[in-house]
Amino acid sequence: MKKKRTFGEWARSQDGQKLFVIVTFMIVPLVLLFVFTYLPFGEMFGYSFFNMKYTGARKYVGLKNYLKVFQRDDCFKALKLSLYYMVGSVIQLGLALYLATVLSFKVKAGGLFKGLMFFPYLINGIAIGFIFKFFYTRGFVFDTVLQWCGFELENLPYWLKDQSINNWSLVGTSVWRYFGQNMVLFIGAIMSVDNDLYEAAMLDGANNFQQFKYIILPSIKTIITLNVILSITGSLSAFEPPYVITSGANGTGTYFVVMHEIAHTQQKVGLASAMAIVLLTIILAATGLQKLFFKYVWRED
C-alpha cells in the first residue's frame, strides 16, 4: 500500500514541484488576464441588462437593450459599412500576398521596399487619420498628385464629401496601413519553405506561377487563414479611420463609431454594452464560418 505522504513530502516530490512551478509561472499572467480582460468583460455583460448612465442610478430592464439593438435602424445599417472594409481586406490580402511572393525571390533593394511598405503599420492610427484628413482635402495632396497625372480638378470627386465614395476613401487608408504588415507575415511564412522544393520544381520545368500555386500556397495556408480571419474581424470592428477622419459623419459611421456615440454622447451605457455583446457574437459566428470555409477550401483532394 502506498504510504500517505505528508504535505511537506508531497511538496518536495516531483508532482508537487511540477504543480508549484506551473502555478508560480501562470499566476501572474492569469491574474492580469482576469483582472483586465475577463472581469471588465463580465461587468460589461452585466451592464447590458440595465438602463444606466455612467453616473447615477441604474434600472434593470432584462433583454430590452438587445431588442433595441435589433430594432434600431442605425445599428445594423452601420454593420453594412463593414462590407466596404471586407472588400478592402480582400484587396489588401491579395496585394500583400502578391508583393510577398515577389519580394521573397531575389529583388533589387528588397529590404528597402519591405521597410517602406511595412512602415505605415508602425504609425499611430490617430496620426494616420490626420494625415489622410489633409490628404483628401479638396485641392490638397491627393488632388495635386492626380492633377500631375493629367486629371482636372473639376472632374475629381470630393473624396470625403461625396457619400458614394467616401467609404472607399476610408477603406483606402485602412488598406494602406495594414497591407505591409500582412505582407511581412506572408514573407516570413514563404521564407520557411524548403529551397530544395523550388529547385526540384525548376528542374521539372515549373514556371513561377506554378511554383506559387503548388509550393508556396499550400505551405502558407495556415498563415493565410489567420490573416483572412483577422482582417474580416477587423472589418466588422473598423473604428479609427471613420472616427478620426470624418468623426463618423456623412454616412461613414461604422458599428463601432455608432456604439461610441451611444455610449459616450447619449450615455446609454446599457444599450452600448448590448451592442458590444451582439458584435462579439457576430464576430464569433463569422470566425466559425470562415474556419468551416477554409476547412472546405484546403481539404485534401
Binding site: V28, T55, K133, R138, N166, T246, A249, T265, Q266, K268
Partner: protein, 482 residues
C-alpha cells in the same frame, strides 16, 4: 530547495508589487493632508459638508460659503490644490500660469497645480467617478441629483445670486455647486468688412434677412457666406444654443417647458421657434452658401479666415470671439451680432454661464477652503471672464465692447428647472438622443448633409426629431403640457 525559495520570493514579490500599485492612489491624498498644517478656520466644515445635504434644511451650505468667505482673512492660508479644466489653449499660452502667479501674490502659501484635459467632456466624467481627481474641476455633464455626491455646495442659491449672475445652472435643492468661470451671450460671429463689401448696411434681424445677406455676400464678395465647421463636429452643437430664449423669448423654455412640449420642432409659421433656427442652416446649405468641401475643413484654420475676411459669418458662442480676434492682423473687423431672429418684434439674447468651477466634496478641509479661496479670487479678481470676452459673471461687472451690437436686445438667462424636474432635460436628451445643448453635434451635422445633398427635406428632419421627442416623453412618462 533553494530554487523553491527563490520561486516563492519571486512570486511574493510580484504579488506585493501588484498590491502596492493598488495602494499608491489611496496613500497620495493622505500624505498631502499630513504635510499641510491643519487649518483652524475650517475644522468644522468637513463634518457639515459630508453630512447628507438633503437631510439638512435646504438653505444651509455649511460653515464654508462663498458669500461669507472674506479673502483678506486667509492671506497666510497654506494648502496645495489641483485644478483641472478644459482650456487647453489658455494652459499652453500661459494665461492660466500668469493668473496663478497673480493669485500667489495675494496667497503665497497656496500652491495651485493645473491640468488641461483635451476631450474634456468625456474624460472628466470618467475621472469624476474615481473620486481623487483633484480639488477644483469644471463641472461636466452629471445629473443634478448627483451633484452633492461629487461636489461641495458653495453657498445657497439665494446668497450667491445676489452677487453673481448665471449661478443657477448647477444648483439643486436651493444649494449652489458651481460658479461659471465666464459667461457667454449667444450670437453670431461676422466679419464687418465682408458685410460692408457685400453692401449690408443694417444687421439682419430675421432668418430670411440673414439668408438674403448671406446671398449678398456670395454675390458681391469672395468670402464664404456661412462657415459651418462641420468637420470639427463639436462646433455644430452651437446651433442648439438658440433653441432657448432666442427662438421664443421665454426664459423658462429650455429648462422647464421644453421637456413638456409636444412637437417642439414644429414650424410656428412666424419665422421663430427652433424650427427656424435650424432652417437657416438647412437653407444655407441647400443654396450653396457654405464652404465648398465641408468634410475636410480645419477648425484652427477658420479663425484666421474669419479674421482676414475670407469668411462672412460663423454661428458660435461669444467665447469664440477672442480667439477669432487673436488669429490675425485685423481684429477690428471681427464683430458679434445677436442671432437673426425676432419674436414679437423683439430680438432676444440668451446669456448663460460657461463651464462652472466645482469643488471636490471628497477633498480635505483645508483643500476645500483653499479651493473656495481660489474660486472666489478667480471669479472676482482674475478678470479672466472679461479677457475672454465673456459676459460678466459678477453682478455689475464690466462688459467687453463686443456686446455693443446687443444694445436694444433683451438679454435673458435660462431659468432653473422646476423642483423635482431637474433631471428631466438630461433624461430626455439621452433618451431621445437629440442631446440639445448637450453635445448633440451629429444631429446638426445631418442637417448639413441633408441640405447640401438634398437627400432629405427639412420638414421631414424636424418631423423625425418631433417623433423622437414624443417617444422619449412616452418612454420616461413625462407629461405633455404645452
Amino acid at each position: 530547495m533553494k530554487k523553491k525559495i527563490t520561486a516563492l520570493v519571486l512570486a511574493s514579490a510580484m504579488v506585493v508589487s501588484l498590491v502596492a500599485c493598488g495602494n499608491a492612489d489611496q496613500s497620495a491624498p493622505a500624505a498631502s493632508t499630513d504635510s499641510a498644517p491643519a487649518a483652524e478656520e475650517s475644522t468644522d466644515a468637513a463634518a457639515d459638508t459630508d453630512a447628507d445635504v438633503n437631510e439638512e434644511a435646504p438653505a444651509q451650505a455649511g460653515d464654508l460659503a462663498y458669500t461669507t468667505l472674506n479673502l483678506d482673512d486667509y492671506k497666510d492660508f497654506s494648502a496645495s490644490i489641483k485644478y483641472i479644466h478644459h482650456k487647453t489653449d489658455r494652459e499652453e499660452d500661459g494665461t492660466i500660469a500668469a493668473m496663478i502667479a497673480e493669485f500667489n501674490k495675494d496667497f503665497p502659501n497656496i500652491t495651485v497645480t493645473t491640468e488641461a484635459v483635451t476631450d474634456y467632456a468625456e474624460d472628466s466624467l470618467l475621472r469624476l467617478t474615481t473620486g481623487d481627481w483633484g480639488d477644483i474641476m469644471h463641472i461636466p455633464a452629471v445629473d443634478k441629483s448627483d451633484l452633492a455626491t461629487y461636489f461641495m455646495p458653495l453657498d445657497t442659491l439665494d446668497n450667491l445670486s445676489s452677487q453673481l449672475n448665471f449661478v443657477s445652472s448647477w444648483s439643486y435643492d436651493g444649494l449652489c455647486y458651481g460658479i461659471p468661470y465666464m459667461a457667454n451671450a449667444q450670437g453670431v460671429l461676422y466679419n464687418k468688412k465682408v458685410f460692408q463689401d457685400a453692401g449690408i448696411t443694417t444687421l439682419p434681424k430675421t432668418p430670411d434677412e440673414f439668408l438674403d445677406d448671406l446671398q449678398l455676400i456670395k454675390d458681391n464678395t469672395d468670402a464664404i457666406p456661412l462657415y459651418t465647421n462641420y468637420a470639427a463636429g463639436w462646433t455644430m452643437g452651437a446651433w442648439d444654443a438658440y433653441v432657448g430664449i432666442v427662438s421664443n423669448g421665454d426664459d423658462t423654455y429650455m429648462n422647464q417647458k421644453l421637456v413638456h412640449t409636444a412637437n417642439p420642432f414644429a414650424d410656428p409659421g412666424d419665422g421663430s421657434g427652433a424650427y427656424n433656427v435650424y432652417r437657416i442652416l438647412y437653407d444655407a446649405c441647400a443654396k450653396g452658401l457654405i464652404e465648398d468641401d465641408y468634410t475636410t475643413t480645419d477648425w484652427e484654420g477658420c479663425k484666421g479666415m474669419l479674421n482676414r475676411g475670407e469668411i462672412g459669418t460663423m454661428v458660435l458662442g461669444s467665447w469664440a470671439y477672442a480667439q477669432m480676434q487673436e488669429a490675425g492682423d485685423t481684429p477690428e473687423n471681427v464683430g458679434y451680432m445677436p442671432f437673426p431672429m425676432t419674436v414679437g418684434g423683439v430680438q432676444y439674447v440668451a446669456a448663460g454661464g460657461d463651464y462652472n468651477y466645482g469643488i471636490n466634496a471628497n477633498a480635505s478641509d483645508e483643500n476645500k477652503t483653499a479651493a473656495l479661496i481660489f474660486v472666489k479670487w478667480m471669479t472676482e479678481k482674475s478678470d479672466w471672464c472679461y479677457n475672454e470676452g465673456g459676459y460678466t459673471v459678477v453682478k455689475g461687472g464690466k462688459n467687453p465692447d463686443m456686446y455693443a451690437a446687443f444694445d436694444g436686445c433683451t438679454v435673458l438667462s435660462d431659468q432653473d428647472a422646476i423642483d423635482g424636474e431637474a433631471d428631466y432635460l438630461n433624461q430626455m436628451n439621452s433618451e431621445s438622443e437629440l442631446s440639445i445643448n448637450a453635445g448633440g453635434n451629429d444631429k446638426v451635422q445631418k442637417i448639413v448633409e441633408a441640405g447640401a445633398t438634398g437627400s432629405q427635406d427639412f420638414a421631414s428632419i424636424m418631423d423625425e426629431w418631433n417623433q423622437k421627442w414624443s417617444d422619449a416623453q412616452e418612454e420616461l412618462g413625462i407629461e405633455v403640457l404645452y
